[in-house]
Point group: C2
Chain length 202, copies 2
DNA sequence: TGAGTTCTGCATCGATCGATGCGGAAGTCG
DNA sequence: CGACTTCCGCATCGATCGATGCAGAACTCA
């Protein structure tokens, strides 16, 4: 196979698409899908609307790609947390990661997966449904992880993986809302420590 | 004082302002501040934009009044919950009320105070800040209630009222997000029961 | 009845929304 | 070089945004 990177014919792109997407992600994260206008987005990305449409398709596709980048970037703590050895460690790392990510001193407060498009008009329905699916994927993955923990004997047989996953995600979404309101990181972490003290809620 | 209701001079209003506000509330609740256009609002209210502006001021004022109506209507369970005899009863009633209100079979799912304007553009900043204040008021009132519970000996002296209030509100916001995603009422209630099993988180 | 007040239907405002057409610039090829 | 491909700056599209001017309708007063 040709690993050789041949430059494609035609005029090369005058900007870094990855960096432009990162800028777009930050705008969507801070203002939400509907609150982020094309003008605001393209200005932050440093490109014209023409280049944006040529490179990313349209606003909804741009949002979709920004969400993917969010999942693999700021939200990568989720994947790492799921690999922790015990269910308790998973839950603890998940909540800690949520708090860290939603209260970064530099960068938007809150979670893109929550505030990106929670309630929208017709124009934002695509983004809203996309985020509903995104959140549901997170829940399902976490539930599966807890089911495995029951099978492994890490969690007692009486534990309810679906309930535990619902609890942890609920806590995470609630933290995201608190963070969007500007609540401090330390206060949220103290609360979260207490919230997981009764784990696994039996 | 004159209790006699004199009809004001001039042409009387051709619609019920209270009912129009209720309709507007439902639209804001479902689509959020930015997602609710004037056209959508006035169509649901059954009046013209002229009448809307004459009666309610502008879109932001309309939202403000809709939020007040929300507080005294669908969200009135908060006031009732705070009057419960014990802190545990307060927390339980608060969460149960949240679940009931955010998952009404008829009517929008979720909480206006959360999804009304969580992340917005410049145009929605007023509504966003209004809701931040609304949520903060709820937190403060709840914290005060828990402080009273400590003073009364209802909660142990080691209990942290601020932490408990932060926990209950976080749970409530998380439930609101789950409800906006369409999660069923029963599942949320089971989860909430388990979440309050460790009360008061010591 | 006539003066004064208020409400409403219609038309429309400038601004912004997301999205596109076009022609020239900037490259890779033979 | 000349042919071909791609990208970008500029202008602009129709639709919708929130908001208003105006004239007449509908009412209370004296």
């Amino acid at each position: 196979m040709e690993t050789e990177k041949r430059r494609p014919a035609g005029r090369p792109r005058g900007f870094d698409a990855d960096e432009a997407l990162e800028r777009a992600l930050l705008v969507f994260w801070e203002h939400g899908y509907e609150g982020a206008s094309l003008a605001t987005l393209t200005e932050a990305m440093g490109i014209s609307t023409t280049s944006m449409y040529a490179t990313f398709g349209n606003k909804e596709e741009l949002f979709r790609k920004a969400l993917d980048r969010y999942t693999e970037g700021p939200s990568a703590y989720v994947t790492r947390a799921l690999e922790k050895p015990t269910a308790f460690d998973v839950a603890t790392a998940l909540i800690a990661g949520t708090i860290q990510t939603t209260t970064r001193p530099a960068g938007p407060h809150g979670c893109l997966g929550v505030q990106g498009a929670l309630a929208t008009g017709d124009a934002g329905r695509g983004a809203r449904d996309l985020l509903i699916g995104w959140r549901d994927d997170g829940y399902t993955t976490l539930r599966d992880r807890f089911e495995r923990a029951v099978d492994d004997g890490d969690l007692p047989p009486t534990a309810d993986p679906a309930l535990l996953a619902r609890y942890v995600t609920t806590l995470g979404y609630g933290i995201a809302v608190q963070a969007a309101s500007g609540i401090a990181r330390d206060e949220l972490q103290e609360m979260a420590d207490a919230a997981l003290r009764g784990w696994p809620l039996l």
